[in-house]
């Protein structure tokens, strides 16, 4: 491993014990990944602020108490608590207390209390070619694919190690070579489906199952694949698979052409995705008939545009079941200016910030199926919350909430 003088200094504790620990862990990981050197990063996003047990808190505290401070602008992912609406938390107060201590430890280290899984919806997001170290699987895939910024998959612990040292292993998606598509996915789908939000989450789910850890290139998307839709696609692909980057020819910044995405080399594998695969995936995420118990949307966190779309759909209507909308405190503040939040609350929905309904006890005991428009929520909630999930587009979620019945719509 080629270390700079500055790397050596950090490794020898010249920047303090916490930074030394961070550099040691970073180097162990870099070696596991086969890196021969580290590179400078300009930003970090920390996933480790979500409480998963004592180990995460012990680690954060050990760094904080060792005097650790981040050396690059560093945002924080969702936590276990909604600090703006603390009464929404229905879990164990001891866990809430530990979760709060974890949040405080990261803020003490100089991180920005953004508490969102969608840091790409914050101001000053990274751009094309920027080297960054992001945690949170949906943020990673969005940064690489949609922003053209360069990040590996930084898990809990390693994320803060990068932020404390300003360094990351120079391998994989940080390099031109690692970003080339080796798997080509052609879409054979009726044109009208590209106007359906749900297509993108379902396509993401299928892509994740096929791609595993590969970088795929999708041929067949067009400018109807908006940022919000690419967000849904990437989040689903990073749940059903380990997709950390995809290209979409003519849509994502590093794929103006197929050749640009592949580096001019023919992909090793080419797969056609048609209506049949999409319907199968859609059915696999739909477990429930029966009465509707609740609705949850906004995984990843809703953008201002998505809150506006929801406001248009729910205007003048009322929900008959608990209806949760997850977003960030920054997006909420921006959307409040537009009047969308007031309409959504008049509908009877509960806005959740700083956290998300599938990672912390907010929903309580639900009597019936929970409906969502998120492939990621549909994938993880059954295991995390023990609920049955119905999966449909945003409009179907609203129609179902108004009627009290699960209406997922016809198969494609």
């Amino acid at each position: 491993m080629l270390l700079t003088d500055s790397d050596q200094a950090m490794l020898h504790g010249e920047a303090g014990g916490a930074t030394r620990t961070a550099m040691e862990l970073l180097l162990a990981t870099a070696e596991a990944e086969g890196a021969s050197e580290l590179l400078d990063i300009s930003a970090a996003h920390i996933d480790g602020c979500l409480y998963h047990g004592q180990a995460g808190l012990d680690f954060a505290r050990s760094l904080r108490d060792g005097g650790a401070k981040v050396v690059v602008p560093t945002t924080l992912n969702v936590s276990s608590l909604d600090l703006l609406h603390p009464k929404l938390y229905r879990g164990d107060p001891a866990v809430a207390s530990a979760a709060r201590q974890l949040m405080d430890a990261y803020v003490d280290m100089g991180c920005v209390p953004s508490w969102t899984c969608a840091p790409y919806q914050l101001p000053n997001r990274p751009g094309l070619g920027d080297q960054i170290a992001w945690g949170e699987s949906n943020a990673i895939v969005f940064a690489n694919s949609v922003l053209g910024a360069r990040t590996g998959r930084y898990g809990d612990f390693l994320d803060i190690c990068c932020a404390l040292t300003g360094r990351a292993p120079a391998v994989g998606l940080h390099t031109d070579q690692g970003r080339r598509a080796r798997l080509r996915l052609d879409l054979d789908i009726p044109d009208h489906l590209f106007d359906d939000d749900l297509l993108y989450a379902v396509l993401g789910h299928v892509m994740g199952e096929i791609a595993g850890t590969e970088v795929p290139v999708i041929v067949g998307l067009d400018d109807r694949a908006t940022e919000d839709r690419l967000k849904a696609l990437g989040a689903a692909a990073a749940s059903s698979g380990t997709v950390a980057m995809f290209h979409a020819v003519g849509v994502t910044p590093e794929a103006p052409t197929l050749d640009a995405a592949t580096g001019g080399m023919e992909p090793e594998t080419r797969i056609v995705i048609g209506r049949e695969e999409l319907n199968r995936a859609r059915a696999s995420l739909n477990q429930g008939g029966g009465p509707l118990g609740a609705v949850s949307v906004g995984t990843p966190h809703f953008s201002v545009n998505e809150l506006k779309e929801l406001a248009e759909l729910v205007s003048g209507r009322s929900t008959t079941v608990p209806f949760y909308v997850n977003t960030s405190r920054d997006v909420l503040a921006a959307a409040e200016q537009t009047g969308a939040v007031e309409i959504i609350e008049r509908f009877g929905a509960t806005v959740v910030t700083d956290t998300c309904t599938y990672i912390t006890p907010i929903m309580g005991d639900v009597d019936g199926v929970v409906m969502t428009n998120s492939g990621k929520w549909a994938f993880y909630a059954p295991g995390n919350l023990g609920v049955e999930v119905a999966f449909a587009g945003l409009e179907a979620c609203v129609v179902s909430a108004v009627s009290g019945q699960v209406i997922v719509g016809e198969e494609w």
Partner: protein, 143 residues
């Protein structure tokens, strides 16, 4: 038959019953750290227990929270004895290293292909992987 030439991602020695995961598992959302049980309902090995076993897995999957979950499982004592991966996974590596640093837990991770049809008790011995011949003590009862 000794399988040699494994790449060491986290060094150590561990013995346990082999649990072959036929698909990658995200520990976050997939492992209950209180019980060690696999809870991802979409996973073929859902319901199996990871406590004290040598987990063989193609690669990691999904959420970047899996480092925390692995470290917590190792802290509590519900975590696996070690991992044999087909491809390196830094998220598991970091989880294992932090558990060692904070609690002295050793959970070696090696990378390399395991022979088809491997079952029973296996040992990770630094860069070697060995099947342990039976009969096995009752504490290793399979299932």
């Amino acid at each position: 038959m000794r399988e040699v030439g494994y790449r060491v991602l986290v060094d150590g020695v561990a013995t346990g019953e082999l649990l072959r995961l036929t698909e990658p598992l995200s520990l976050w959302g997939g492992l209950d750290t209180e019980t060690g049980l696999i809870i991802d309902r979409n996973h073929p090995q859902v319901g199996r227990n990871m406590t004290g076993v040598i987990v063989s897995m193609p690669h990691g999957r999904g959420s970047s929270s899996s480092s925390s979950v692995l470290a917590e499982a190792l802290r509590v004592g519900t975590g696996p004895a070690g991992f044999i991966l087909d491809t390196p996974d830094s998220i598991l590596v970091v989880g294992s290293l932090v558990a060692h640093r904070l609690y002295g837990r050793v959970c070696p991770i090696v990378c390399g292909p395991l022979p088809e049809g491997s079952t029973g008790i296996w040992m990770i011995d630094h860069n070697h992987v060995d099947p342990v011949p039976g009969p096995y003590p009752a504490s290793f009862s399979s299932g």
